[in-house]
């Protein structure tokens, strides 16, 4: 009952926020929140640290951007295609990466992502260093013109809610329970007869597809798909968002994305812009040293202890 109420309040806030805050900024936060939630599905619930998730964000963005520029498809079809493309790439990478564990898993995903980064740098359809610029937003379902920022925001909010609901369903399904069991004790899960690698692989595909969904949407919001989204810095950023918000919590990545994106916006506008990477690195170090459960994790602990 109480959580229902919380959800209603949050939804109300999300619906009225663009009246007060710049809608493109809000849409950006939602895109990164979805990205971080998708990443958290893998790290928080399956215990797999991917260091190459930017590649799915970027792939979704490129596919959607290319389709919007070169085909007459409506944005929702372009986004779905981008999502599927990310899922397929995730299927290939996941198959390779789940063969190794822990630290190796992180290195394999990072290296695979770098491989794709170089391919996109040279490939004819990505626009190389310039990226795909001037991606038209089009009309959703052929009816709703997304050129208006406010309309775009509500479109993004709808996508975010669908993605968020999917993640919520995945985590609370029997599949999600088995994922948690694998995270807690992999050999026991194996001995209970679960094909551990198969479960990890499926989790990887879902996470990759949803990351691509976030990237596809982001491309429409900014009318741009670029190499920044494929770079390893971006893979680091999504880890930071999840860490700041709280690994393994449902709402944490959303909070983390809000904090990190706000921080970046605030810093890049002011004179501290030059220090952006230094500050991000410092936040990383501080979080790991003394704030490992993140904002939401700390909050939950506080609530458990005091109420």
């Amino acid at each position: 009952m109480r959580s229902r109420l919380a959800i209603l309040i949050l939804l109300g806030l999300a619906l009225t926020a663009p009246l007060v805050i710049y809608p493109v900024f809000l849409a950006k936060v939602l895109c990164f929140a979805l990205f971080a939630c998708a990443f958290n599905l893998l790290l928080g619930f399956a215990g797999l640290l991917s260091f190459g998730h930017a590649v799915f964000l970027g792939t979704g963005g490129y596919v959607t951007g290319w389709l919007m520029i070169n085909s007459g498809l409506t944005p929702e079809i372009a986004i779905i295609t981008g999502t599927i493309a990310g899922g397929l790439l995730g299927a290939v990478f996941g198959k390779l990466a789940v063969k190794r564990e822990g630290i190796y898993f992180a290195m394999v995903t990072l290296a695979l992502a770098q491989l794709v980064f170089f391919l996109y740098l040279q490939a004819p359809f990505t626009g190389g260093e310039d990226g795909l610029q001037g991606v038209p937003r089009g009309k959703a379902f052929g009816l709703i013109d997304l050129a208006d920022n406010q309309t775009m925001y509500y479109f993004v909010l709808a996508i975010f809610l669908v993605g968020f609901w999917l993640i919520h369903r995945t985590v609370h399904s029997p599949f999600g329970q088995i994922m948690k069991a694998i995270r807690e004790n992999e050999s026991r899960a194996t001995s209970l007869g679960y094909d551990v690698n198969q479960y990890k692989w499926i989790a990887f595909i879902i996470s990759a597809a949803l990351s691509a969904l976030a990237g596809s949407t982001k491309t429409l919001v900014f009318e741009l798909a670029s190499l920044t989204d494929v770079h390893w810095h971006m893979s680091g950023e999504v880890i930071l968002m999840t860490l700041v918000g709280g690994v393994g919590t449902i709402i944490g990545p959303l909070v983390g994305a809000g904090v990190v994106v706000s921080m970046q916006n605030y810093l890049s506008g002011g004179e501290l812009g030059n220090y952006l990477h230094i500050i991000m690195g410092a936040v990383f170090v501080l979080c790991v040293l003394s704030f490992r459960s993140g904002i939401v994790g700390q909050f939950n602990k506080f609530r458990r202890n005091n109420f």
């Binding site: 640290l49 390779l96 063969k99 190794r100 564990e101 822990g102 630290i103 190796y104 992180a106 290195m107 394999v108 990072l110 290296a111 695979l112 770098q114 491989l115 170089f118 391919l119 040279q122 390893w232 680091g236 880890i239 860490l243 030059n274 220090y275 952006l276 990477h277 230094i278 500050i279 991000m280 690195g281 410092a282 936040v283 990383f284 170090v285 979080c287 790991v288 040293l289 490992r292």
Partner: protein, 295 residues
């Protein structure tokens, strides 16, 4: 005369030489990673930043204090190693009992910070470091022109790698190291100060990266992102070789340098990606790596 079966030997050997030089750096860096991994069970994401730091300390020492290359070759690894010791003692050790992924994230954050600071101070463009006078010029071999400094890199890197291997496999200190890798608790019970060994090992592994940085300064341009670019390739190499053996890390590093050089000659478009492709193939055939033990 220089061509046979359509192969231009001057160009081919030129690329092979560049490949061997890159391979020397890959070997030095992955050797450092492997030594650190052996005892600490973590991958040092800041290894690339330490390599960059080594190159910059050499450059700044030369610019502002007139420190010669030869002095730098000894001083810089010590300085970088000390930085590593401080990092291990005050940042990594407090979280050593947590999930090892946290140490990975910690070193990643440190790498971001260090790279960010140098970009802020020196800009992102590269600076050059002069080749020491004694090693200027080169030799004209029948099939290629060999610049002296490049020959020096290969010889010295191989020597350093080999002595490290020898130290770990054949000396008393190496026995402690290997025992610590196998069973740290038991080693501690024998009265060996394991935490000290762990800290020194981290310092040594990081010092190797600093050493590689000094060696690299005269051939590559010294820039803040030189470390992160090479580090991701070295990660792929570590996956290819597996971290089972010190010798394996050295051989895979050199070997992948040569593979990269050959690709630059035969199919230049793929030269940036070939090592990652090899990694994919190795993952499909032998996931534990060429020299890795099954885990």
């Amino acid at each position: 005369m220089a061509t046979f079966l359509g192969i231009n030997f001057f160009a081919l050997f030129g690329q092979l030489l560049i490949g061997l030089i890159n391979g020397s750096f890959y070997a030095l860096l992955s050797l450092g990673l492997a030594i650190i991994f052996g005892l600490l069970r973590i991958i040092n994401f800041a290894q690339g930043a330490m390599y960059m730091l080594g190159a910059f300390v050499a450059l700044l020492g030369f610019k502002y204090m007139g420190m010669s290359y030869w002095v730098a070759l000894f001083v810089v690894p010590v300085v970088v190693g000390l930085v590593g010791i401080l990092i291990q003692r005050f940042l990594i050790r407090p979280i050593a009992n947590e999930d090892h992924l946290y140490s990975l994230l910690l070193t990643f954050g440190l790498a971001l910070m260090i790279q960010g600071m140098f970009t802020h101070w020196f800009g992102s463009s590269g600076q050059s470091y002069p080749v020491p006078d004694v090693l200027k010029g080169g030799m004209r071999l029948p099939f290629m022109y060999l610049p002296n400094y490049r020959a020096w890199i290969i010889v010295v890197s191989v020597l350093v790698c080999f002595s490290t291997w020898w130290m770990i496999e054949k000396t008393k200190l190496g026995v402690y190291l290997r025992a610590g890798t196998e069973n740290p608790q038991l080693l501690q019970a024998f009265g060996i100060n394991v935490p000290l060994i762990v800290t020194l090992t981290f310092g040594f592994g990081v010092g190797l990266a600093g050493f590689a940085g000094v060696m690299a300064a005269p051939v590559y341009s010294v820039s803040p992102d030189m470390g992160s670019n090479i580090l991701i390739i070295v990660f792929a190499i570590v996956v290819i070789g597996g971290m089972g053996s010190i010798g394996g890390a050295i051989l895979t590093g050199l070997g992948m340098g040569i593979v990269e050089g050959l690709t630059k000659y035969f199919y230049p478009e793929a030269s940036a990606t070939v090592i990652f492709l090899v990694m994919v193939i190795v993952l499909m055939i032998k996931p534990s790596g060429l020299f890795g033990k099954n885990t």
